[in-house]
Amino acid sequence: MSKPTIAVKSVIIRFAGDSGDGMQLTGDRFTMDTASLGNDISTLPNFPAEIRAPQGTLPGVSSFQLHFADHQVRTAGDAPDVLVVMNPAALKANIKDIPRGATIIVDKDEFTTRNLTKVGYASNPLEDGSLSSYKIHAVALTSMTVSALSELALSRKDAERAKNMFALGLLSWMYHRPTDATEAFLKAKFSKMPEILEANLVAYRTGWNYGETSEDFAISYEVAPAHMSPGKYRNISGNIALAYGLIAAAQATGLKLFLGSYPITPASDILHELSKHKKFGVITFQAEDEIAAVGSALGASYGGALGVTTTSGPGIALKSEMIGLGVMLELPLIIIDVQRGGPSTGLPTKTEQADLLQVMFGRNGESPAAVIAASTPSDCFTMALEAVRIATTYRVPVFLLSDGYIANGSQPWKIPDVGTLPDLHVKFAHTQEGFLPYLREPETLARPWAIPGTKGIEHRIGGIEKQDKTGEINYEPANHDFMVRTRAAKIAGIEVPNLEVDDLYGDAKVLFLGWGSTYGPIASAVEELRNNGEKIAQAHLKYINPFPKNLGEVLEKYETVITPEMNLGQLAMLLRSKYLKDIVSYNMVRGLPFTTAELVEAAMGVLHDD
């Protein structure tokens, strides 16, 4: 006898527990099972910088939120419909985000006096009525898991560790998620540890059966597949998409991919991913520091490889001088900055967009470099190819900005056909008489990519100002002025696509203009505003240096431009200074993405300020 099922359009679930409770894995698995059902999804992992903060404390809480729906979703959602908490700390840290009426599933075994006291609960919230406006399911998650595993030869500790799979099983039942993919995943993951595999499988199935049989769970829910364009899909995070994009770009250019990198959160996963793919001829070099990471990448580029370095804000600060050398040497160089909260060490695991001015201007002298930004996890793939196109065509350093939100967040990605990838093959300088290392191509102003090993074009380059064409050391005033302007003109002349504006009926007076990972929240806010009858346009900048050629026109067209940024107005500053257009700068710097509701409210303030 099966229980009643209710169809819902979208659901937001947040899993929260101690950082040792396996919440990221639980969230990941639920995401994969959900993606395979054809729902659209967006995810937001949120974890502490400490690997294992003291158990059961507020700083140790780790969470994973996902939003899935029968329609397109743009963000991981503002307010969870379901919160799964593994201990009192997770409840305390998350309850403020949970709207009244939401469902909260609690591991009641962890609500002991000791654990409650640890996080400052004077009484047990499961008993004192403070949660009466929520639908509470207090489940004996730990003890049921342990008793289900009593037949297995496991320590109590190992048995308890499987409780996240119990929770996953329960949620999978609630939302009709298929179980075979997760079972296959567990079998692969624990193939060498049969007891642990058995424990996880049993806990997972027990959780599912508990939902099916317990009277506490009367109803399950269904979310129909979203309408998505036909094709083959997979779920992808920004960091993996960047790694794949770089491998694809290496193939498209015919160059050897060299990654020089120093581990730093939240960029390290790109290093990890590329390190797995050596059969593509990828060389990954874990350098002694951030400077050597970019230096080795520049050395590789000088030799004719595709030199890439990956880092976050503090790493960019260290690399600045070397990037300046890249500007002077006019060699291709890809610098990926997965931004995190700053300044200094800041908030290593949280997101922010406050490195924009650093990458634009954070070098000595007039030191222009190209700057582009990915807007969603899957867009990271496209923008990696774009970064390589610009770097190799113009022989310049290119910054590709991502951030913690899109690096770790994921979404379904329609897998591109390899045959449709651009041809980016490069030409090196060839043997010739009277070779001039700084003689430029008229269209691009790029100098030749003249690599060692090419007979007859031996030459010397360096960081000292050089003479036009010959590249010899030159300190003359007029030459320096010319070279400074030429380097700037080269960046300014980079071909980038025009900015596309989404203005449904062409009658909006207000434009939401964003860049980077704010794309999802802005698009979601625009959708909601339009559903409420508001007229609003949206555009998203992926090319920041240079800006698209039509940007001035676009700004001119709208009475008001609102620019939400997770900084104190860095893009707004660039726009104001270049276009003399005032910008309504909307800023929050909390280490978290904007919520849709905040952006709707901000827009409403502008739309109805008369």
Binding site: R234, H277, S301, Y302, L325
Partner: protein, 333 residues
Amino acid sequence: MTDVTLTKKDFTSDQEVRWCPGCGDYSVLSTMQAFLPELGIPRENIVFISGIGCSSRFPYYLNTFGMHSIHGRAPAIASGLAITRPDLTVFVITGDGDALSIGGNHLIHALRRNVELKILLFNNRIYGLTKGQYSPASEQGKITKSTPYGSLDTPFNPISLAIGAEATFVARTIDSDRKHLSETLRQASAHKGSAFIEIYQNCPIFNDGAFDQVKDNETKEGSLLQLIHGQAIKSSTYGVVRDGARLKLVELANVDESELVIHDASDPDPSYAFALSRLSGSALEHTPIGIFRSVVRPGYSAMVNDQLSEIIASQGAGDLEKLLNSGDTWVVD
């Protein structure tokens, strides 16, 4: 191998050399230009990468590929080049400030990895290009522009540092001794892996005579302890004997030559080479000269590229389409 025999002239660029008159860099440059043809390597396959400082202008004067980079970072840039281009011969030109101060980290890590670089450290024990401040190799108490009351820093011994950093080839030579310098370059070039050469180099402007003890005819024979593989270690007046696990100096007059240590640069134990490096005080009165250490360990670039080849041989070359379609996928009709 090239089909034409190159000469010193072929390696001399058209740039006017701009070091101060009397600078020790001139003789190192001239020796290098004369030595390079001997390698039999085409000019285009040779790259000189330098940092910042007087000696780092070196690449401009050689008609090979060259890069005058930024302060201290040459080993990092050269590592990226050497790893991706194992077909090239890469020299790093650096000084005591460039390599031991601002670039210390890159030097030690290039050496520990054994990247196939020939690193020439021009040690003049002073900052020349910035006009005369003390360097990390300057002797304690040094009076300079930035230390008018004498420097307090204990100096680095570059040889000890390189040995401590797991270097596989460590040598010392002198700018003015063309024959010794050429021979050292020859040995370094034959070494697979990092080769580190400290070159005592006179700065006539800011630290003139710093190495007179080992250069003047009256004192050099008695000060230089010749390190020649398979031969006893001695100067004209002193020899080196074992003292338990240590080495010590004894006057030749007081020792039977058969008791002297026979130099073994291939000794796998680095403590022997380290002990040799500690024999000289900063007054240079007993200075070992020659190859301290030359041991065989696989080069980094060779290992990186071998690993790639092995992976490709066992797994097959990467297939992009397969990669993009890996993991959980689903189809929307």
